[in-house]
């Protein structure tokens, strides 16, 4: 599948934003984050701004962005529509939670409930994003049960790294953010590796034989393509990444996105002061960059069944 930059940016940024929002909504009511107004404003602000940038950037690849509001209407059948509804609905508890924390200086009582509600809405929104892909049967590498846990874990991981960095910047005891990051990075890595093992080891459900129905005659191969230049289908669905590059990019994603942030966060337990702050920020940036590479691969490695009509024997 063609990896559209706007969609990769959207899913990465909004994933990290919703991850951060979810951690804030859970940890603050649990009393694990100080009700520091400046920190609350910065953390909730970063979460909501990145979510908003992500949502806006997702409209850039539309043919008619001015009609984007129509996408809220079909939540009965469409995961894309549900994602839109959930993303907007999340603002309500999130902004009220922000009022309690930043304006009134409280994350207890009703504000704690709103925090938990915001966390739940954030998780639901990321889940809807995952289901947009997981529900597409023609793309076997998306249409499997590993996609949802991967999206949730990667959002939690990047959100935790951002949280740890923010706590360092505000000179707070970073323990809660550090533990959240150290816990979610190995989980996200394990799920990502499991996903890659699954897509590498699963036989193609559809073949050139089932796509044409000519399997009873023997092996089917394309003799003559229907057109000499590329069409929309080949540009959008026929994107192919060289196998060796995929392997290399997976190693880059693991190193940048998981191993380096984990090592830096671990090292930070022994450090303090300005160096710890710089290291936490670098860890958050690397983790986000790693997820961008991972998300590019998620698209580039996905194969669509329409390619079976254009010379591929499996999808």
């Amino acid at each position: 599948m063609h990896p559209a930059l706007s969609v990769i940016l959207f899913t990465t940024l909004s994933g990290a934003g919703y991850g951060l929002l979810a951690w804030l909504g859970v940890l603050a009511p649990a009393g694990l984050l100080p009700a520091d107004r400046g920190f609350g404003a910065a953390a909730l602000g970063l979460a909501l701004v990145s979510v908003t940038i992500g949502l806006l950037s997702s409209t850039f690849h539309l043919g008619h962005p001015e009609r984007a509001w129509r996408a809220f209407s079909q939540w009965r059948s469409s995961w894309l529509s549900r994602e839109g509804v959930a993303s907007v609905a999340t603002y309500v508890p999130a902004l009220l939670f922000a009022v309690g924390w930043v304006v009134l200086g409280s994350t207890a009582g009703v504000w704690a409930g709103l925090g938990l509600l915001a966390a739940l809405a954030a998780a639901v929104t990321v889940g809807c994003t995952a289901f947009i892909y997981q529900s597409l049967k023609p793309i076997q590498r998306w249409s499997n049960g590993w996609v949802l846990p991967n999206y949730l874990a990667l959002a939690a991981m990047t959100g935790a790294l951002w949280l740890a960095a923010l706590m360092q910047i505000f000179g707070l005891d970073p323990l809660a953010g550090t533990v959240a990051a150290l816990g979610s990075i190995p989980l996200a890595l394990a799920l990502k590796v499991a996903y890659w093992r699954f897509i590498d080891g699963t036989a193609s459900r559809s073949t050139a034989e089932s796509a044409t129905g000519l399997g009873s005659l023997g092996k089917v191969r394309l003799f003559e393509a229907p057109h000499t230049s590329e069409n929309y289908l080949m540009k959008e669905m026929g994107f192919r990444v060289a196998r060796k590059h995929a392997a290399k990019l997976r190693r880059i994603a693991i190193g940048l996105g998981f191993v380096a942030p984990f090592a830096l966060t671990l090292a930070n337990l022994a450090l303090g002061g300005v160096s710890a702050m710089a290291i936490a920020v670098i860890a958050a940036l690397l983790g986000t960059l790693g997820v961008l590479v991972e998300r590019w691969l998620f698209f580039a490695e996905a194969k669509h069944t329409v390619t079976l009509y254009y010379g591929q024997s499996t999808a």
Partner: protein, 246 residues
Amino acid sequence: MTSLPAEPGARRLGLVIDLDICVGCHACAVNCKEWNSGGVAAPLTDLDPYGAEPLGVWFNRVHTFEAGEGAASRTVHFPRSCLHCAEPQCVTVCPTGASYKRAEDGIVLVNEELCIGCKLCSWACPYGAREYDYDAGVMKKCTLCIDKIYNETLDARDRVPACVATCPASARHFGDLGDPQSAVSTLVRERGGYDLMPEMGYAPTNKYLPPRPRRAGSAATPAELAPAVPAGSGGFLAWIDRLLSD
């Protein structure tokens, strides 16, 4: 509404494509382009039409496949277009309600006024039936010539999709596949018509008829040219042959 009709009608209009007699002339694709360039889905934009990399919207694409090995292999021309599925995920994934399936005849259409051009429907189609119009910013697809098949200003015999009307080999048939007594349903029954990628669960309405088996023995011994001069023959030809062979 992008939910599928709660009570799908009995009529299921669609095509039956005979792979045994399709000659791969692309007339269906060309006439489809011609009709729909002036029909409800118009224009079918072409970008850079006379340049090095022309890129345009077509609702029909004719592929040619080889199946099998050696003398037993077959060359099969394979027209590909929207199958107007009974379970079209291209409709249910649409976030705006632009994609819809008609209850009365099963035709799958796009309301271009509602389409935001997110392209998700084309991702959800296993068959590559939908093509995005980069110029109009909306998705386009086969309408089964809805502006032709119901057009009462045309003669009754002309109220068939453009691809069917133009096929010089009569490899394309149009009719109601929801009616077991219709000519197309009978054809499917008699010839063993089948679904493409049944494993996807989209329940396509359009059916494909398989190439007929070869006549007995025809594949085993490929025909050879007759010898220029039959062995052991005499007469004038043999005399010429002897004369020129010296």
